[in-house]
């Protein structure tokens, strides 16, 4: 049922100047489902995500989270909706002026320096979930490798126990082995915490591992949606070209 979906995008449009990045995106993500959006660089994946997060306001269309339309919401209501979200940023986006444990518990204190003892404990618990020990608690983000930063960012995203988690290119910049470790972590966390997940990626291995369903974004529209097992026999020439990474085909 449409009314039951966790996130619904209905004809979402967004243009920057004359560049129509989103040209009527329709998408439904069910409660507890893990959905991946694939597409080329510049196809509008990030803008789609930023529209749902309320960081970018769409020009037209509706975005419903738990049935509430967020596209024309007041700042105060939007803050309430955002409390349902967690996000893993492509470059991790850790706060480099704060130690790891303050980073992980940032959402819980809204950046205030409260309750240090308890917060350290919560940070350690969440870091353990992503396979990091308490020895990193007092380090700064710049002292960690890219893969470890990604894990810290993951711990930060899950610490407030969001209902929905967004993953922006979670494996970009990692070697294939570390990428797979992150994929496994995401699958495990999504299952354990029972969250709804939306991943944007152009890493096919990652999409197939993380997602229950995959949607392909092309020229500002969703041109195909299907279960992950159908990704390599979608019968859609655009999807075929993209997942097989061929220069020749309908996508130029």
């Amino acid at each position: 049922m449409a009314g039951d979906a966790k996130i619904v995008l209905d004809g979402v449009k967004k243009a920057f100047g004359s560049n129509h990045v989103l040209d009527g995106v329709d998408l439904e993500i069910e409660r507890g489902e893990s959905m991946a959006i694939i597409g080329q660089s510049g196809s509008g994946k990030s803008v789609t995500l930023k529209c749902i997060l309320g960081l970018v306001r769409p020009d037209a269309g509706a975005i419903r989270v738990d049935g509430e339309d967020i596209s024309s919401m007041s700042t105060r209501d939007m803050e309430r909706i955002r409390a349902k979200f967690g996000m893993l940023f492509q470059g991790s986006a850790l706060f480099d002026s704060l130690p790891i444990w303050r980073n992980v518990t940032f959402a819980l204190t809204q950046g205030r320096m409260l309750d240090a003892r308890n917060m350290r404990k919560i940070a350690a618990e969440n870091l353990e979930r992503v396979g990091l020990g308490s020895e990193v608690l007092d380090l700064r983000p710049s002292e960690l490798s890219g893969g470890m930063q990604k894990r810290v960012a993951l711990a930060r995203a899950i610490a407030p126990r969001p209902e929905i988690i967004f993953f922006d290119e979670p494996t970009t910049g990692l070697d294939p082995i570390r990428a797979d470790v992150i994929n496994d972590l995401i699958v495990e966390l999504v299952d354990d915490l029972g969250v709804t997940a939306l991943t944007i990626t152009h890493d096919m291995a990652s999409a197939r591992k993380i997602a229950h369903r995959v949607a392909m974004l092309y020229r500002g529209k969703i041109i195909w949606t299907g279960p992950r097992d159908r990704l390599y026999d979608s019968g859609n020439p655009y999807v075929d070209q993209f997942v097989q990474g061929q220069a020749e085909g309908p996508i130029r």
Binding site: F85, L94, F95, D96, Q110, R156
Partner: protein, 264 residues
């Protein structure tokens, strides 16, 4: 004829575009400032961030502000003496030093020095946070960047700059005194007596008002340009330059307006 008409039209269009973009810029800055104020009045508040910014803007700027003040006061005393000696008016040195420092040089020089130090640092820091998505991350972590980052900077600058200007005034007057007494053979007691006569509460109040404006502009330009930075390292560089240049212009422009209104 038609060529010159075309060039006239092109010129008018150019002036028009310039005017429109200037007005749009003023509008964006105003919205940015108004958003910050309207968000900052509601909790959560960030006293730790405020203190941190106060230290950054005020305390760590003291050495540079102190040096600026003492050098300027000393040079001003020497120049006044040199000019005054032509008219047998060297006795005006303490009066000119105190009026010059308190009314103009103190606020403006402190404003410019701190703008160079602080607007640039704010723009670079916030700009880097923008291009590395840390500002978006704040928002997804239930934290309002206006409350967490902008409001403490604006408030800290609004308080710190007037305090520093008062300190700089004292140091600047001392710089003039030092040169007058130890180089130009002024009588120390007499010099201080004239200084005291010409040092008025009204002038000090005016210095505080001016420097509060300067502090506001310093933080506003640093935050605004940093917040809007885009396009990686080059974008952060541009934001930093824009922040310092626009802060300088706003300081000098508002100083002129306030001076013309107050002393005109």
């Amino acid at each position: 004829m038609s060529v010159s008409l075309k060039s006239v039209i092109a010129f008018v269009a150019w002036v028009g575009r310039l005017l429109i973009s200037a007005l749009a810029g003023i509008g964006r800055v105003t919205i940015f400032a108004a958003t910050t104020v309207s968000r900052a009045v509601r909790p959560p508040y960030y006293p730790a961030r405020l203190l941190e910014q106060f230290m950054q803007i005020g305390w760590f700027s003291l050495p540079v502000v102190g040096m600026t003040a003492i050098f300027s006061g000393a040079a001003l005393a020497q120049q006044t003496f040199t000019a005054g000696s032509r008219f047998n008016a060297t006795s005006t040195v303490p009066a000119i030093v105190v009026l010059g420092i308190v009314r103009e040089l103190g606020p403006v020089l402190v404003g410019l020095m701190v703008a160079g130090r602080v607007s640039s640092a704010m723009a670079a820091e916030l700009g880097t946070m923008r291009v590395t998505e840390q500002l978006d991350a704040l928002t997804t972590l239930r934290t309002d960047p206006y409350r967490y980052l902008i409001a403490p900077r604006l408030l800290a600058a609004l308080i710190a700059i007037p305090l520093m200007v008062l300190i700089a005034n004292a140091i600047g007057i001392f710089g003039g005194y030092f040169v007058a007494v130890y180089k130009l053979d002024f009588n120390a007691i007499g010099y201080l007596e004239v200084t005291r006569q010409y040092l008025t509460a009204t002038d000090l109040q005016m210095a505080v008002v001016k420097s509060a404006f300067f502090g506001f502009f310093i933080a506003l330009m640093g935050c605004y340009h940093g917040f809007r930075a885009q396009g990686g390292a080059a974008g952060v560089g541009r934001a930093t330059t824009d922040a310092v240049v626009s802060a300088f212009i706003l300081i000098l422009l508002s100083n002129m307006i306030i001076t013309l209104m107050a002393f005109g």
